[in-house]
Amino acid sequence: MSKTKSFKGGRVIPGFGLSFGITIAMLSILILIPLASVLFQSFRLSPKEFFEIVTMPNVLYAFATSIGCALIAALINCFFGVILAWVLVRYEFPGKRIMDGMIELPFCLPTAVAGITLSKMYSTKGEIGGPLYEWFGIKISYTHIGLIVALVFIGIPFVVRAIQPVLEKLDSQYEEAAYILGAKKLTTFYRVILPELKPALLTGFGLAFARGIGEYGSVIYISGNNEKEHTQVISYIIMQKLNYLEYESATAIALIMLIISFLLLLFINIVQIRQSRRVSNV
């Protein structure tokens, strides 16, 4: 008996062939083949042309802006994400369920709506931006700070939802042990709780970061897209090239972005596999 046959014979549940075929077919037609076209179109460029396009100053600045702002926003989200998850898992207080539900708002709210609203709120005449500008002279809309605000808004649910289940499962007897042995609350948190949360925190960070780099709808209004002030994001540059029918440039830049997001996705997946291994070993 051949190896594959005995392997196949091990499956008791029906439907492997059917579900495998449909999954692969739909995935290929809808996602993989269109993405492969981007790859092939960019191969039409010679390496020199490709290099020239992706190293144009405005493209490089856009990459720096997108990656830098997404990184800062993801770090801010990690800080608040841990606090929010901790509060939502460990404390009982009135309004907890509403707070828990609100976390997912950025998932449900259309990005364009979030974009125009944040941009108006944080402008120098807006509800929050107005007082900040009058009292401290800080401008938020149409600057990098505005960009970061929008990315914090978009990314917060990724971090909270990644940490929450792990924190729920975390056995409180280790904390109790640390506490009884005389560790301070802060020490307990750094030495006992944080190491346990690390994989989940990395996953949440990776997801928020990846989303932030490619974000379009929520950032294009608040960023102001000013070339001189380097507030253009990379998605905006691609859209601009598309509107000017410069398809070669658009695909070249898109290819770099595809590589970045694929690497991030791989990183997240490795973290998750390690995490599940660790959990199943316990």
Binding site: G95, D100, E168, Y247
Partner: protein, 293 residues
């Protein structure tokens, strides 16, 4: 996410509350409440306030223009098709990834998640590169059109809008189903199969009851995202009043720049905000239902 049931959760929360100093607890709760208020609740209030700036008459007038009505129809059409396609895919993919083990499974799961981490603009670009003027699938579409006498356009037409919406929300339903089916394992399906049930019966009687709430929640989330998709559709849709969706209409009104049109764009936004809030409430109900099971 269903690691603990309701009572265990409460117990954990109470235990921690009892042990920790109330000062720390209330500082952390206040920080969280302030964050949620400023980052999430204030924007919601702001949309509603901005949309009603010119009074109710203006509000109703601006949400019932020709453009908005046309955009609403396109949005609904795209959303319905997207949800049907993605639900079908979600069930198939989650069945495949949770009931069987095979080589490359993890890689396949990563591929399915691609749309999560890709800029929506790239999704739009990908379809232009496939079906657009220089795309390799353009001759295929032309051939179909000339043999059957049809006039199918994909890019800058409704099919493109639908495809872009499907792309962006592709993994949403499978993502909700996979953890639930993983937690459930394969014992029950194996037993049913050994007792002679066929695939459809196993799915209907054994698997479906387990994933019912997760599926409903996934469909709701997918609907919300499909209604609000902007970046991908923006690349593929250029005609206002014909292929524009609601978010594109909001964009057009906002960029028109006059005070009136900005108020109108917030009025149209308020429709989507109301839908988002309804989704959040439904989500909360279904999540508690699935945990209670």
């Amino acid at each position: 996410m269903a690691y603990l049931n309701g009572d265990e959760r409460k117990e954990l929360a109470v235990k921690t509350t009892r042990r920790s100093k109330p000062v720390v607890k209330w500082i952390l709760i206040s920080v969280s409440a302030l964050f949620i208020f400023f980052m999430l609740i204030l924007p919601l209030i702001s949309v509603i306030v901005n949309s009603l700036k010119e009074g109710f008459d203006f509000y109703f007038k601006s949400i019932s223009t020709e453009y908005v009505r046309a955009a609403l129809l396109v949005t609904l059409l795209a959303t319905v098709i997207t949800v049907i396609v993605n639900t079908f895919f979600g069930i198939m993919a989650s069945w495949l990834l949770t009931k069987f083990s095979f080589k490359g499974k993890q890689f396949l799961a990563t591929l399915i998640d691609i749309p999560f981490s890709i800029s929506p603009v790239i999704a739009g670009l990908a379809y232009i590169m496939t079906f657009g003027r220089s795309g390799w699938a353009k001759p295929v579409v032309d051939f179909i059109n000339s043999t059957f006498g049809t006039d199918i356009k994909i890019v800058f037409a409704i099919p493109g809008v639908v495809l872009a919406t499907i792309f962006v929300t592709f993994p949403f339903i499978s993502r909700e189903l996979i953890p639930v089916l993983n937690a459930e394992g394969t014992d029950e399906e194996e037993a049913a199969s050994l007792m002679g049930a066929n695939g459809w019966t196993i799915f209907k009687r054994v698997t479906f009851p387990h994933m019912k709430w997760a599926l409903i929640y996934g469909i709701i989330l997918c609907t919300a995202r499909a209604l609000g998709e902007f970046g991908a559709v923006n690349a593929l849709s250029k005609t206002r009043g014909e292929t524009f969706t609601l978010p594109l209409e909001i964009d057009a009104l906002y960029l028109a720049g006059s005070a009136d049109s900005i108020t109108a764009s917030f009025a149209v936004s308020s429709i989507l905000v109301i839908i988002a809030v309804i989704v959040l409430i439904l989500r909360n109900i279904f999540e508690h239902k699935s945990k209670a099971m």
